[in-house]
């Protein structure tokens, strides 16, 4: 039990944290709710909800959301589990490279994935064209099928990273005990290994599901009329004529509720299945022989390469020669030149917003993390719970909520850089709070006590011993926040104005304009920045793919 300095430093922090949560979370969420419950005249009404329930357009969007959500979930579960099982249980040549492919898919800039698939399999797709020349015709990738393929390949890394971690942590003795008792390898896998990794499976699946529900770029580009709630909300908000804010907020409320339900459902399903083993026997990887070996390698590399394909495509296309938006034969740096001379401010915006947000996240997140870990009380437990909310809010909803809250009233932020920075800040803050609190709880308190017994004051002991120990984790966490921040699209799409445009927004607009060369080049730059951040993070905390989730 460390007695913290008594000058009420932590009480002040506690109050400030609640104020911050109030302004950045409760007010926006409240505004969304209020906006959905009042008409233009300021009268209370349930009309928006009745409309949502009555109009087939919204029914359809709701059903479509569930279809792409669960379709994406099952696709991700299938691909992710196959890959995780193969990589963690069999000897796979270049296993590290496969993990790298998964990371690549995870940090690839949004939208670019969908567009790359259009480039390959769209109406004028390269692969389709090639196949057509061979006499094989295939339908273009548009529609719900395309969305599901893209979601499966985009979100499988969540399942893969979670499950491979869990699989390599199943105590080998457990499986041997089952085998010694007479179970065949298949029975053993289903009855022992599967229940052990079930929590990881559902956690990875949940991440895939929530991201699939929140994603609106992919349905927008690939859907061709296949609308989901996220696209409906954005359309209603962004319509040039007849923007319908109260209907957009109504859909936002529905989205929040749906996400919330799934989070609670996942928690319920895995409530008693968290196992912490004392690891004496780590599982070993089996060297497969013959066709099984070929099959395992094929599965792993096929999934990995397909997942990373959009990134590969956009890197290649960024170097293609262009004439205006039209690609020519051969390679050139024209796309990069155009960024250098025309889009410097976009890159600058992205960098400065992200750095500002990350700086805020690191400082505030660390202080609040210490508060949550070291001052256990009802208050901190509530605080911990409140941080769940931004975790499940789709980006588009955060954007709409911030507009609803800060367009008028005491604080007006619309059109400023601050609103974008703060929206990123509040979304990513929970991760930093959690990771700081977790790493603090894992540190033995006797470490600080040792320093105190050697003559250091408690505050000095914290500063000299604990802070250096959690610092690498904090820096790594900051780097990973940077990856999320710089790739953030959906909330900024709602919040940006001309002068605060960021790279992902620009990419989105470029793709809508059909200027894929510059979009690819911007994506490549984004990828380079993300990759460097991931590299730095891994340098600080060791290679730990799970931290990316």
């Amino acid at each position: 039990m460390i007695v913290m300095p008594r000058f009420n430093f932590w009480t002040v922090i506690m109050i400030l944290t609640w104020v911050m949560l109030f302004v950045l979370l409760f007010v926006p969420v409240g505004s969304v709710l209020v906006s959905s419950l009042y008409d233009q005249g300021g009268n209370f009404t349930l009309a928006n909800y009745t409309k949502f329930l009555a109009e087939s357009r919204f029914h359809q969007a709701f059903a479509n959301t569930l279809v792409v959500g669960f379709g994406g979930l099952f696709g991700a579960l299938l691909l992710g589990s196959i890959m995780a099982f193969c990589v963690s249980r069999f000897v796979i040549r270049g296993g590290k490279f496969v993990s790298l492919l998964a990371i690549l898919a995870l940090v690839s800039p949004p939208f670019i994935g969908a567009y790359s698939w259009i480039v390959l399999f769209g109406a004028g797709g390269v692969v389709r064209g090639f196949l057509r020349d061979l006499g094989i015709s295939m339908p273009p990738i548009y529609g719900v099928g395309g969305i599901l393929i893209v979601f499966s390949l985009k979100f499988y890394p969540y399942v893969y990273l979670m499950v491979s971690g869990a699989l390599s942590n199943v105590n080998r003795s457990l499986e041997e005990a089952a085998e010694g008792l007479g179970l065949t390898p298949w029975q053993r896998t289903m009855r022992i290994s599967f229940p052990m990794v079930f929590p990881a499976l559902t956690a990875g699946g949940l991440l895939a599901l929530i991201h699939a529900i929140a994603d609106f770029g992919t349905p927008r580009l690939l859907g061709r009329g296949y609308n989901v709630l996220a696209t409906e909300a954005f359309t209603l908000y962004a319509a040039e004529v007849g923007s319908n804010m109260s209907m957009a907020t109504t859909i936002s409320v529905v989205l929040i509720i749906v996400s919330m339900i799934f989070v609670l459902l996942q928690r319920y399903m895995s409530r008693r299945n968290v196992y912490h083993g004392n690891m004496i026997n780590k599982p070993i990887r089996i060297q497969l022989k013959g066709w099984r070996n070929v099959l395992a390698h094929f599965a792993v590399y096929f999934i990995g390469l397909c997942g990373a394909l959009p990134v590969i495509i956009s890197v290649i296309y960024s170097f293609r020669k262009t004439s205006g938006p039209v690609f020519q034969d051969g390679f050139a740096l024209q796309s990069y030149e155009r960024i250098l001379f025309g889009l410097g401010d976009v890159v600058r915006n992205s960098l400065s917003f992200s750095v500002a947000a990350v700086a805020l996240i690191v400082v505030v997140g660390t202080v609040v993390g210490v508060l949550v870990a070291r001052r256990t009380s009802l208050n901190t437990a509530l605080l911990d719970g409140a941080f769940m909310v931004p975790y499940v809010m789709p980006g588009i909803v955060i954007g709409i909520a911030f507009i609803a809250a800060f367009n008028t009233g005491p604080i007006v932020l619309t059109g400023t850089a601050a609103i974008i920075i703060l929206s990123i800040f509040i979304r990513r803050l929970p991760y930093t709070v959690r990771t700081t609190a977790t790493s603090l709880r894992q540190l033995s308190p006797s470490m600080e006590e040792a320093a105190i017994s050697l003559g250091y004051s408690p505050f000095q002991a914290f500063l000299r011993i604990t802070v250096p120990l959690i610092m690498p984790g904090i820096i790594a966490g900051g780097m990973l926040s940077f990856v999320t921040a710089i790739n953030e699209l959906s909330s900024s799409l709602v919040l940006y104005v001309g002068s605060t445009m960021t790279m992902p927004v620009r990419i989105y607009l470029l793709i809508l304009d059909g200027d894929f060369g510059v979009a690819a080049a911007l994506s490549t730059i984004l990828l380079l920045l993300s990759g460097s951040a991931v590299y730095i993070a891994f340098r600080f905390m060791g290679r730990n793919e799970q931290a990316l989730l």
């Binding site: 003795s173 041997e176 005990a177 008792l181 053993r188 196992y275």
Partner: protein, 351 residues
């Protein structure tokens, strides 16, 4: 023909490392057989080869006349108890113990009877419906034991089952394991690095070192008549006399041939302490001064600096008068039966 015979078992890891180097043992029906040795001596490798979790490079394992090496582990019908318990965390105590009966198609009614009986044997009858996660290490290991023996296996294997438990529980559970084993009468192979545990629990012990067998015998043979210096040092503790004129004089007095190339040793409890000028007929005495006195209640260890080296003397039941202080002058009594000699190759030299 013994019940289980292992012939010339060899296991090679990598090009040079021999985890097992031509090991042959045979175990009788109902026998409690222990593989004892330091970590890395090959004892666990041998046990896991018998269980089928890893195969031998060469050699034969024959159980009750049938070759075991051709069978996959789940068809060997062998019960195994693990160091880390390996209790299934998602199953209740009852389901854990009944787990191995399911693939054996035991009818539900009989399953219930057998599991209940097994749980009673390990004194966990009252906890059948609990989940094991919150249970103590000792209780989890009891589940592991019940689970392994309820299937009435042809062989019971135990891999350091007590080494994660605290001292008091270890002694309690080892007596329980021995009693249960005698009761169910299943041939058991037990792996441990704890020599006292091996002595207390086994019918026979096989001491292993560096992939080879040092000695096989009953606990009394292993302790009282070690065949190699390694066994003498690993099982119990020994004093090593410093070579020189004092040792030669001592050996002459005791009627042993002089030291030569051999190493002479003696167990602490075979030595005694007398006053500095004390004599003992037939025994040799070495004068010395006390350098350390450790009181342990039922015994005390006195370290004495003598012309034949630092010797530890164990005194049983030391009264207040037996207390010695650093610097006290004493004499160490060495009876004729105490010294044991080992040749340069480590083998026991007998005359």
């Amino acid at each position: 023909m013994s019940y289980l015979t292992v012939t010339n078992a060899t296991k090679r890891f990598g090009p040079t490392f021999m985890a097992l180097d031509g090991v042959s043992v045979s175990i009788e029906r109902g026998e409690f057989f222990t593989l004892l040795g330091p970590s890395g001596c090959g004892k666990t490798t041998l046990l896991r080869a018998i269980a089928g979790f890893n195969d031998l490079t060469s050699g034969a394992i024959v159980l009750d006349g049938a070759d075991l090496r051709t069978l996959p582990p789940h068809q060997r019908d062998i019960g195994m108890v693990f160091q880390d318990y390996a209790v299934f965390p998602h199953l209740s105590v009852f389901d854990n113990v009944g787990f191995g009966l399911k693939p054996r198609k035991v009818p539900a009614a009989e399953l219930k009877i057998r599991v209940t009986e097994a749980l009673d044997t390990v004194r966990l009858g009252a906890m059948a419906e609990r989940l094991p996660a919150a249970m103590s290490g000792g209780q989890q290991q009891r589940i592991g034991l019940a689970r392994a023996m309820v299937i009435k296996p042809r062989l019971l294997l135990m891999d350091e089952p007590l080494s994660n438990l605290d001292a008091k529980l270890r002694i309690e559970l080892r007596e329980e394991i021995r009693d249960i084993q005698k009761q169910v009468d299943i041939a058991t192979i037990y792996v441990t690095h704890d020599q006292e545990e091996a002595l207390a629990i086994s019918d026979r012990i096989c001491v292993m070192n560096a992939g080879k067998i040092e000695q096989v015998g009953t606990p009394q043979e292993i302790y009282g008549n070690p065949q190699t210096r390694f066994v003498a040092e690993f099982v119990g503790s020994i004093n090593v006399f410093r070579p020189g004129s004092a040792l030669d004089a001592m050996l002459a007095k005791l009627g042993h041939a002089p030291g030569g190339a051999a190493t002479w040793t003696a167990r602490p409890e075979h030595l005694a302490l007398v006053e500095p000028d004390g004599q003992d007929s037939g025994a040799a005495t070495l004068p010395g001064t006390v350098t350390k006195f450790t009181y342990l209640g039922r015994e005390a260890h006195v370290q004495v600096d003598t012309p034949a080296g630092l010797l530890v003397v164990q005194i049983a039941n030391p009264g207040m008068a037996a207390t010695r202080h650093t610097g006290d002058a004493v004499a160490v009594v060495v009876p004729p039966s105490a010294p044991m000699a080992f040749g340069p190759d480590g083998a026991r030299v007998k005359r």
